[in-house]
Amino acid sequence: MGSYDNERPPQKNLFDEIDPQWAWSQWSPSGDDPWNRQRAAHLHRRAGFGASKADLDNSVAKGFEATIEQFFAAPPENDPLMRESEQLARTIVAARDPKQLASWWLRWMRFAPRPLIEKMTLFWHGHFATSADKVPDCELMYQQNQLLRNHALGDFAKLAHGIAKDPAMLLYLDSAYNRKAHPNENFARELVELFCMGEGNYTEKDVQELARCFTGWEIRRNRFRFNPYQHDDGLKSIFGSNAIRSGEEAIDLVLQQPAVPRFLVAKLFKFFVADEPAPPPELLEPLTKRLIDDRLNVKGVVEQIIMSRLMFDPRIIGRKIRSPIELAIGTLKALEATTNFRFLADSIQLLGQNVFYPPSVKGWDGGRAWINSSTMVGRANLVYALMQNEATRFAGGSLEDWARKQGASDVASFIDVVVSQCMAVAPPNAGLENILRQAKDWRGNAAWTKIIGVLAALPEMQLG
């Protein structure tokens, strides 16, 4: 059984052999390595939540660079879809049910015209994890969500400053009442450990001194307020500097530490490129440099990663375990489907990814942590249940209608359609033939539903 690290001989690290300069230079399609539907699907999976066949054909026709441009373009102004979704969010916020807000976000991930922004917002939500379990205030959770969205592909410094005063975050980290006499170390610790630098880059003393900087930072009536009477105005000594007084100065000082860009780049690499193995520092060096040059604005680095030769290397395709959200939204998008998003939000919770309810301040570990025997069954059951849910419509019709439009006339051709639409890596042929033999007499809508149910139980469905 392959799960323990300590039982297997050390694996050769794929990334040890890769030349950093080659890796991060821009991929350009060629005759041997063309921009085709498979490459476009990979891009849509990594930079978004997947795509329908029509989207892919569109991307292929448009060309690689134009497709990338579309991912990074600012959201269209006055987009009716976006207005509708924002109105929907406001209505839900007014009714104050955070679970419903989670359903809203899943719906928006499915329909957003700029999926990369939602993907990055999800990244930051895991990074600056805050749970509505402890902050059951829909308004504050939405406010934080918008903060993350506004800076999703922007300046990390602004985001860090924003999050430091974000009511939901401070309530979550028990920093809502941070008094001079009892500095609360929670936020200070997470700021360096989880948000900016990672363990091993600071001392306990740094944390204590940082905490002093944030005294007097309070949440009153759901708003941030600086209370000068509770602020410890003395000079603090952090990272060898003795000139820091305020929380703002402290954050700026943290952001100047060389560990910050390294920490962020490693996380972005894991999120966009591969769950494992961890790359050697040299491989990340060019990206770190880029992030420093861009003064911690992440857009350039994300773009460089997504357009890179390494990203389009065949060894990278399928080298991530799809998060439950990527699995569910990806499947819906591939099938041009809409569904009961409340049902989806409730079910996906059992698979370990409940948006607005991350398990701890560390967010979701991702990668292998998604998979154990109960979540594996749960994943297959979720996809099957989505197919069976009476609210699920495929391009406005039944799955049978959809299959017909895709030109799938029998079980064999339908399996082909689903494999090419929903999976990054095809399952072994022998296996598919085995399934086909068993299923060849299946007919009608129920048959298509079952085929997807069967394919969802395969290991390949879990890769992205």
Binding site: M1, S374, Q438, V454
Partner: protein, 422 residues
Amino acid sequence: MMNEENFRRLSRFAIDRRTFIQGSCGLTALGAASSLHGSWLASTASKSTSNRILIVIQLTGGNDGLNTVIPYRNELYRKARPKLGIPEADVLKVDDELGFHPSCRGLADLMEAGQLAVVHGVGYPFPNRSHFESMDIWHTCYRKDARVREGWLGRFMAQHRNLADDDAMGLHFGREDQPLALASKNLQVPSIAAIEQFRLRIADETSISEAMQPVQEAENREDQNDLVAFVQAGSSAAWNAGKRIQQVLQSNQELPPFPATQLGEKLSVVARLITASLNTRIYYVTLDGFDTHALQPAAHASLLRQWSEALASFMKYLDVQGRTDDVLVFTFSEFGRRVAENASDGTDHGAAAPVFIAGGSARNGFLGSHPSLDDLDDGDLKFQFDFRQIYATFIEHWFGVEGDEILGAKFEPSPFLNLIPA
């Protein structure tokens, strides 16, 4: 008390020797070990304790320990409980002093069968009488001001997650929020509402099962990178677990039935998962309603009946499966109740109370002496075992791993298990 001390020392020694032997075998077998403190214990102990499972039953609300394990001859008990006292004739007597509540027939049977340890007077210093705070203390081993958001089981599971192989290290049953005891920054425990979560529906509802088996197998895949191998393994583990559970569900006709109660149903799922050889090590279930401030007799009787019937059915089921030696069922509550009853036929929040450990390896009988009724701490029973000693026994003796870091300090395990190697 002297005997107690001796036993404790003895068993401690026995365990040490045992783990040492396992440890050295493990070392030679593996040829190398991580230098990290404690982890050699874990990786090697996992070989010998590989089937061991702990089920935790949490009685939420504060169970009235004094009316569960009853000092039925004690005058002070009669005095403190003029209305709620259980008449001597009704008590299920274990010895000349103590007996169980009449609803606890299941407990009495377990003790008869030699499978139940009852530890008297478990608690902690300076007892907190708030439900939430006391429960948090039991869950985290820390007081509120420490702001610890990880539970003792969460820390244990995160450190030793490899004990469960491809399965989840721990499972929580029920629709309520997950108990803090299971929380960990580094490991997420699934919550199970129904056994259906382990059944691959597509395989149950179609004839596809056989055809899919080969697709789940590894040899059909060339180009194996680590990640594919891992997902493959997880996938076929799930596949096999699902099939085993299916078999268990289909063959349960002759097996002892479970009561159709909330707890009975939860434990029946646990029993079936264990029978299906899931490698999960920690199962956590709760039963709420023990906060009996008023009209306690009927309510408490029905809760105790639900608990003891479910527990007894569970043990009977495992007996038939020959698995009682692999399993311990630990029952606790966040506190006991006051010794004196109140004016509305109920009892208010108290402190120390007994805990219960059922299993083939439980040292049958009572451990310690029943807390004195004339030496009270502000009207409450005094504790003689710290609850972290109970935890230490589970972690160190049952699972055979280092417990100090998990419990936050060194605690002497209490000797309620028969784990002396031959």
